[in-house]
Subunit: 398 residues, 2 copies
């Protein structure tokens, strides 16, 4: 094989830099105490059971003769999604014109900018409030777009403030990502700001994608609304069963919004190969059609949240935002928030020594420095064990 | 909503032109005889049953607690893929370094060029022998690449001839797509040509992706080999359960090949959101580990093929290539093969009047004009009914 010249690779894949999360995993192995099982508050993968009726619906739906699924999904799935939007948010959409299933919303997040940006586009910018779910940036970059990061601020209650983005950036923006309740800060966008953002998008002729993966997980104030309550023009909402129904492994969600964009995605997505298997769609139909199981899910997270909020308060550790999602957004104790993330990484490493995995805010983008994200996904028993371990914490303010 | 300026869309999504397949579906509805059910030889979606042990493996695998699947797949799945490559092709690969599951190979085809081409790449060309599966072109274009179509020739036995591509094109090529057995022509690449292509790729420093979706469906000569028999450098093979195990609706396949490219894809694909649900991976593991069900699948298609080849011979209709796949590649009778595709479209329309759906070769890319693709996916009974209907054919040579 010697002498073969390798083919080209995208420059994003060839940097020799160690990925932050790869480095964190390496540090976890180095620092984990011997004989103590790690408790993982790092990744947001719920450990609750998927309701039995949903699992049974999938098992019943496996067909004798298998067919290519349709990208647009079964009519019954689109209808179930539309009916859920009406019940949950009071928003009426037409399942034929405004709704499109996704094979989990991650692929929808990644591929969305591809339908908007082409080489040489005058509109090549994707505005991303940070810290954030990293796939917004990945999708923008691989589509040939330019991400513009707008760091969220404690002073704004960690809510996106559109005035912090210069007018000349908006003029070349194709897409703005919103995420409410927000990962990692847990902030919920307020309605007046949402209305201002929607008006701005319609004035500038840009799309707003509202990732509402955590929409059913809120703990303070009223239930969050959906951005689509402001009308469909220029807007697309993303909704998933992953958190609402503990179905991360099923890969099922949907998009709803502006019929012009939905129509374009119906043209685009058949090539992409992201149609959802019919048996998973059948499980999704019963999941969206049932609201009885979601308050129990919320209560499980609420119990863990009360536990940690009490413990953090006792220690004088400050939690900010965190009105929704299953994350707690905590200021690294004793830190002064230097921009290289040393404060949050040092604190996260002190937790790794106790076998507790969390995520440094600096890993999640500009603005996250000095904060730590706790994903309250371990079981209640594991959460109690974690709190017991915090008693051994040395060398940081308690 | 008045006054809202819509956001930008990719130019590929905004042309007012009616898509060929949309037009064909419209013509089908216009021309279908009243009261006669259509028999669909158009799309390659098998109507055979998925073996029961595969369906049961999926049902058993639905877990109580659902987890995000890993992009790299379960170790048992990678091992099953590697073991199948060894049994089927005598090719030894390391499941940890050379194998990567795909959520069906369509998404792998679409996203592959994204890992290779970036804005401003000197290597921006994707060479596609045509007529072909349309997703090779879609993936190239959305990645910002330039497709270079190399029309296949009857004179070459419909096999790709690398000498027909100019040297200056190879110098800017990132990726060459091969497909053997080939959709739509059924041609199987010969080993000397395969060796020449592999040497060329290594000399020029480009990737060759070999889509071998139909590798287990062959009817003349020896079983086709895999391109990976020529070593892994610069090569990636794509393999799927869709046709081999009648699992189109499960969306499961894999890639294997050059460790440099597999490593890059392991970095790229976690962002894309195309990890396969674990319960589908469990079904795929038992499917790849079993060879007993594939000869029966092949025999079903062989029976249909004998039926049609005899009928076409009786009518003096010429079939070319078609050594493998479940397609027959037929010269439109009476046509002189004009480049606008009028010959093949006219013949396909004459079949639509009998309630028989086929695909005009011209819809599948340059070089397909004057030919028609029959996908032998209806049941044997439907195939016999279709042949009976051909007796009513008027106005074309019989």
């Amino acid at each position: 094989m010697s002498g073969a010249a390798p083919g080209p690779l995208h420059p994003l894949l060839t940097s020799g830099v160690e990925y932050p999360f790869v480095k964190l995993e390496r540090r976890r192995r180095e620092l984990a105490p011997a004989g103590v099982a790690s408790i993982n508050f790092g990744m947001g993968d719920p450990r609750e059971e998927t309701p039995l009726f949903i699992r049974e619906a999938l098992q019943r739906a496996v067909p004798a003769v298998s067919s290519y699924p349709a990208t647009n999904g079964k009519p019954e799935l689109r209808a179930a999604c539309a009916a859920w939007l009406a019940r949950r948010y009071g928003v009426r959409v037409d399942p034929e014109l405004h709704v499109l299933p996704a094979n989990g919303t991650k692929e929808a997040v990644f591929t969305l900018a591809f339908a908007m940006i082409s080489p040489g586009s005058a509109r090549d910018t994707v505005v991303i409030p940070t810290p954030a779910y990293p796939v917004y940036e990945g999708g923008a970059r691989y589509a040939g777009g330019k991400p513009y990061f707008s760091p969220l601020q404690s002073a704004d209650g960690w809510r996106f403030n559109p005035d912090r983005v210069p007018e000349e950036v908006w003029k070349r923006t194709a897409l703005l990502w919103l995420n409410s309740p927000h990962n990692p800060t847990g902030a919920v966008l307020d309605e007046p700001t949402a209305a201002r953002i929607v008006a701005l998008a319609r004035r500038h002729g840009l799309w707003v994608a509202s990732d509402e993966a955590y929409g059913d997980l809120w703990f303070e104030g009223d239930a969050p609304g959906t951005l689509l309550a402001h009308g469909l023009d220029n807007l697309i909402g993303l909704y998933t069963l992953s958190k609402r129904s503990a179905m991360t492994g099923f890969r099922s969600g949907f998009m709803a919004g502006d019929p012009t964009l939905i129509e374009a995605l119906k043209r685009f997505r058949p090539s992409v190969g992201v149609a959802t298997p019919d048996f998973i769609q059948d499980a999704a139909i019963v999941a969206w059609n049932d609201d009885a199981h979601t308050p129990a899910t919320r209560e499980v997270y609420a119990a863990k949240r009360r536990l940690f909020l009490a413990e953090f308060a006792r220690r004088g550790w400050q939690v900010e935002a965190s009105q929704g999602t299953f994350y707690l957004w905590m200021r690294a104790p004793g830190g002064s928030r230097p921009e290289d993330g040393s404060d949050d990484v040092a604190f996260v490493e002190s937790l790794l020594r106790l076998g507790l995995v969390t995520t440094p805010g600096s890993f999640l983008g500009p603005g996250g420095e000095g904060f730590v994200r706790w994903a309250l996904v371990p079981t209640l028993a594991q959460c109690k064990e974690a709190i017991a371990r915090l008693g051994q914490l040395a060398g940081v303010a308690t």
